[in-house]
Structure formats: structure tokens, C-alpha cells
């Protein structure tokens, strides 16, 4: 039970009883939502939830560890294509599809391990970390974009260049002798469950000893190293975990739409995780999750009318965040709310404040 105690701690907002009461209420609403909504909307919310996983991964890497990765969509795409290649070639169905998803995440995690090794052990940090991961993402998008010919295939799985790979099976879950195809309500509950487990798991992780070291690295890598921690090992682990969450998003997305295009990796897609997380408040998991979901919902609503205007708004929000609330809007609002509530009993200041203005590591 010591694990559960780590759900609350210095590295997460919302440690109060009131927060958890609200959390349970939100969860109940989320669980009941399909009962009061039509299947199309439910599938759509599942689609939005899939992307919050990418954002949580970025929050861990960037907000907690101080590694500014532009590579989320790269791992998203690699996992998407891997899911396609594996599941199409195995003609997967039933529980096999879930193994394909795991395989796809493993491929992307291996890629993250390789890239992360070169960058982190090469002591690439700060701005350069962002640039190299960004260039990697764009190069991958360009690579998949030119795989149009029939020679670009692995086994039965054609890459189809700019149009993207199609024809992979949806996820299927064996359930008491029967098989449930994960779409509509079933997919919604599946993704909601995953998100719940991952959110709580990450909370435990960042409040554990490991997470405290990550935050120490964000605040001052040199000092952390002088305290005897192998900074690079911690960074690499955080990078692989964060990238794997993007990969999980990518695999789920591909299975959801049975489709993965190179455009899901390149610009402007690559800009989105950064905007979600920056706007929401990168140094807190809850702020990231809530803010990302709200932004996605808004973005989708406007996209119906004009994708260009939606993207302009996203760019504008990013600019506003940087100029007005560098630590993020949702984070800033939640913080001021919690300060108001605590006015009568002033607690100690948090030891590690948001490092938005400090030197990046």
C-alpha cells in the first residue's frame, strides 16, 4: 500500500481530499457518459483521450525532467506504422491484435532508446535536444511521405507514401469466451481505463524517489550529478517512458481509424503536443491531462469550420502562454485557486517551484 501513498506528493497538484472527491466525481461522469450520449460522440471522445496519452508522456519528459522533446509525433508514427506492419502480416485478430499493439510500442521504445542514447549520452541538452528531435521527426515524415511505390512494403503491408498505410485490423479484446471489437463504447472504456491506470501510475512515479530525482535533474543537472546520481540513466529512462506513451497513442490511433498517414508525424501535427502541454502547464500531470483534453475539444470544434483558423488559434495560444503565463494556463489557474482555498492555513512553500524561467537542461 506504500505505492498508493505516493499518489500524493510534492510533484503533483491536487493532493487534497477535495481534489480526490472531484476526481472520483469526474470519473463517474466519464463512466456514465456513454449512457447519455450517442455512439459517434463517444467514439470521438475516445479519439481525444488517445491523444492525451502523448501529452502525459511529454509532460514527464519536458515538464518533470526538463528534456524538451519535439519527437512525440515521431514515436506516434513509428508505432502506428509498426502496428500496421505487424498486424497486417500476421492477419491478426482477437487477442493477437493487443500483442501487435505491444509489439508496435516495443519497436517505438527501441527507437527511443537508440535516439535517446545518442542524444543524452552525448550530453545534448536544452535547445539542441529540441532541434535534433524535431529534425528527426520531420525527416521521418518526409521518409514515409515518399514511400508511394509498390516496392515500399514489408510483407503484405504497403506504406502508400503520402496517403498513408491502411487495412490494419481494429483492436479486439477476448471477453468471457467472446471477442469484443474495440470501437465505439468498448474502445471508449478501454482507452478510459488505460488513461486512468497511466495517469495514476505516472503520479506514483513522479512522487517516488525516481520522480524526485527527475525533478532535481530539471532544476539543476550538475548538482544532481554531484549528489551521486547518474543523470543520464534517469533521463534516458524518462525519455523512453515518455516516448512510449506517444507510441501507445499512435498504436491506438492507428487501430481506431485503421489508417496511419505521414501527416500524423510532420508539421503541423508535430507542433500540437508541445502546444497542448505548454498551454496546460507542463510541470503537472493533472493540468496537462485536463488542458490537453479541453484544447483538443476546442481544436476539433473549430476545425469543422476551418482547419487553418484552428491552427492559427493554436499558434496564438502558444504565443500568449509564453508571454503571459509561461508555466501554463491551466496550471496557473489551478495554482491560484488552491492558494485562495489555503489562505486560512498557510502551509510551507513547495520546495521545488515551477522551473519555467530557469535555464533549461
Amino acid at each position: 500500500m506504500s505505492m498508493l501513498r505516493k499518489l500524493n506528493g510534492p510533484q503533483t497538484m491536487g493532493n487534497s481530499r477535495a481534489f480526490w472527491a472531484g476526481f472520483v466525481a469526474m470519473l463517474a461522469i466519464a463512466l456514465l457518459y456513454p449512457a447519455v450520449s450517442d455512439p459517434y460522440d463517444v467514439g470521438n471522445v475516445a479519439y481525444l483521450l488517445i491523444f492525451t496519452l502523448t501529452a502525459l508522456g511529454l509532460s514527464l519528459m519536458w515538464g518533470y525532467t526538463g528534456m524538451f522533446s519535439f519527437g512525440q509525433t515521431a514515436f506516434f508514427g513509428v508505432a502506428g506504422y509498426s502496428y500496421g506492419v505487424i498486424s497486417i502480416n500476421l492477419a491478426a485478430s482477437g487477442a493477437m491484435t493487443l500483442l501487435c499493439l505491444l509489439g508496435a510500442i516495443a519497436v517505438a521504445a527501441l527507437f527511443a532508446l537508440l535516439l535517446g542514447y545518442f542524444l543524452i549520452y552525448g550530453r545534448v541538452s536544452g535547445v539542441f535536444f529540441g532541434i535534433v528531435t524535431f529534425a528527426t521527426t520531420l525527416a521521418l515524415a518526409a521518409f514515409f511521405g515518399q514511400t508511394a511505390g509498390p516496392e515500399w512494403a514489408i510483407g503484405q503491408a504497403r506504406f502508400n507514401g503520402f496517403n498513408g498505410m491502411i487495412g490494419m485490423p481494429p483492436l479486439e479484446l477476448p471477453w468471457s469466451g467472446d471477442v469484443i471489437v474495440l470501437e465505439g463504447n468498448a474502445l471508449y472504456y478501454f482507452v478510459l481505463g488505460l488513461l486512468l491506470v497511466i495517469y495514476l501510475g505516472l503520479r506514483v512515479l513522479v512522487n517516488s524517489r525516481f520522480g524526485n530525482v527527475l525533478v532535481a535533474i530539471r532544476e539543476d543537472p550538475l548538482r544532481t550529478e554531484l549528489l551521486g546520481y547518474d543523470v543520464r540513466k534517469y533521463q534516458l529512462v524518462a525519455f523512453v517512458i515518455g516516448s512510449s506513451l506517444a507510441a501507445l497513442s499512435g498504436g491506438l490511433y492507428t487501430a481506431w481509424g485503421q489508417f496511419i498517414p505521414p501527416a500524423s508525424m510532420g508539421l503541423p501535427a508535430a507542433a500540437m503536443p508541445i502546444i497542448w502541454v505548454a498551454f496546460s502547464g507542463r510541470q503537472d500531470l493533472t493540468a496537462t491531462m485536463v488542458g490537453t483534453f479541453l484544447l483538443l475539444l476546442m481544436f476539433q470544434t473549430i476545425t469543422v469550420y476551418s482547419q487553418q483558423y484552428a491552427l492559427i488559434l493554436m499558434g496564438f495560444l502558444l504565443l500568449l502562454t509564453v508571454l503571459l503565463v509561461p508555466s501554463g494556463f491551466v496550471y496557473g489557474i489551478a495554482r491560484s485557486l488552491s492558494l485562495i482555498g489555503r489562505r486560512d492555513k498557510p502551509g510551507p512553500e513547495p520546495v521545488l517551484r515551477a522551473g519555467a524561467e530557469g535555464p533549461s537542461s
Binding site: 545518442f118 518526409a142 487553418q308 483558423y309 491552427l311 492559427i312 504565443l319
Partner: protein, 288 residues
Amino acid sequence: MFAEAFSIAFQFADVFAFLILAAAGLAIIFGMMGIINMAHGEFITCGIYVTVIAVQHGVPLPLAQALGAVSAGLVGIALERTIIRHLYHRPLDSILATWGISLMVTQGMLIVLGSSWQGIGTPLGSFKVGDYTFSAYRLVLFGAAVGVLAGLYLIFMRTGYGVMARATMQNAAMAKALGVRTERMYAISFGLGAALAGLCGALYAPTMTLIPTMGITFIIESFVTVVVGGANVLLGTAPAGILLAIVRTALNAWYGQIAGQIGLLITVIIVIRILPEGVSGWLSRRER
């Protein structure tokens, strides 16, 4: 035999010119203020569109290209005065801000200018060496790249601005204490970087199909060159350009464009594994 050798040299020069011209503006801004300008591609696009519009209104090409560079520079100064100057001590936030701007500009241009335009065609025709035909304009581009490097050297080593700019780059507080108007140095340098990006766009305008998102064509190459070059523009950019051009020319010849691009990336990752401060960091450490 000579024709083959010339062909290889020509391709090398072409790639080298592309890398240097694409990276120069980004490198100046990064070297001077430690800011990675994510809107770099949009300054290039600005140079391209101004050039093409001017040519379509009857302005001679060289003049139109100068116009393209100057207007990108002016936009750069305006941007520096309004937004960038608030972010000097927050390099990461400056990336985010310029990225937000980049996104807004690209999408805004898609709305205003539509998806594609008529290009203006490559001038100067072609010439033959042996059995191979070469575009004469590509030689102009190579000349321009060398000219940009020489020009930067002269500006930073031989002018009053150059001395003050380098002083600001090395120690802004000390430079300010000695009477250098560092704010102005930053504004001019950002403008210079933007103008060089505009020049890159202006020079490549005749060779490209016009779409508002074309700035991205230059982005990978420019970033990669700056990362390999390191913080010191004068020392790093040219050797980085040569190294990357060799890799790219070889891979392009054997495996095609995309292999060239991925090869560049792998080279960068290996280079920063060995030389974390880039070529210029390595060179300046050797000097000491």
C-alpha cells in the same frame, strides 16, 4: 572523366550552397542570442513571395531579390522589437514563441494566398560539360553562398558593429557596462539573420514551385547545419557546410534525396555525440 569530376564538384557546390544559404540567418540569430528561430522558414518564405511578386510586377530579378531580403529583415526587426526582446533570458520560451508565430503565419498565408502560385522560372539557362547539362543559375547560388560567408566575416571582423556585436555575444553585461547598446545590437542581429533568411528565399525563389508551406523545405538542412556548426557562426558554419555537403552529395548520388536527408540527420547525431559543442566549439578549444 573530367565531365564526371565536374559533375560531382557541381553537385557538391549545389548542396553546399543550399546548406550555407539556408543556415546563415538561423546561425547568426542563434550565435548572437542563443535563440533558435523556429519562424526561420517563414522568413525564407517571405523572401520568396516578395521576390516573386516584385518580378511579376516587372522588377528585374536581382533587384527583386534584394527587395525580398530587405523586407524579411524589416519584418525581423519588427518581430524582435515587439516579442523576441521579452524572451532573451528564456531560450526555450523563445523557441515556443517563434513557433507559435510560425504556425500562425503559415496558416494565415494559406488562407490569404491560396495553396499554390505560378513560379517565375530559373534564369540564365544551362551549359554543357561533356555529356552533362548544368544549370548556370546553380553556380550563381554557389557564388552567393561563398559571398555570404565572406560578407559575414567582413561584417563581424572589420566593422564597428561587428566588434560590438561580438562583445555582446561574449559577455552582454560587460559590453553594456562599456557603453555598447546591447538592445540595439540584438535588434540589428535579429534583423540581419532574418534578412539572410529572406535572401535565401529570394535566391531560391526562381527554382521552386510556390506554396505557403515551402519554408519547411529548408528547415531540416538549416537546423542540422547550425547544430553541427555550433554557436560560433564565423568558425562553425563553413566547415559544417562542407562536411554535411560531402555526406549529402555522396548519399544523394547513390541512394537519392531522402537517403541524403536521413544521412544528414545520422551525421548530426554522430557529430554531437563526439563534439557536443559542434565544430566551432571543437575548433576554438584546439586554438586555446
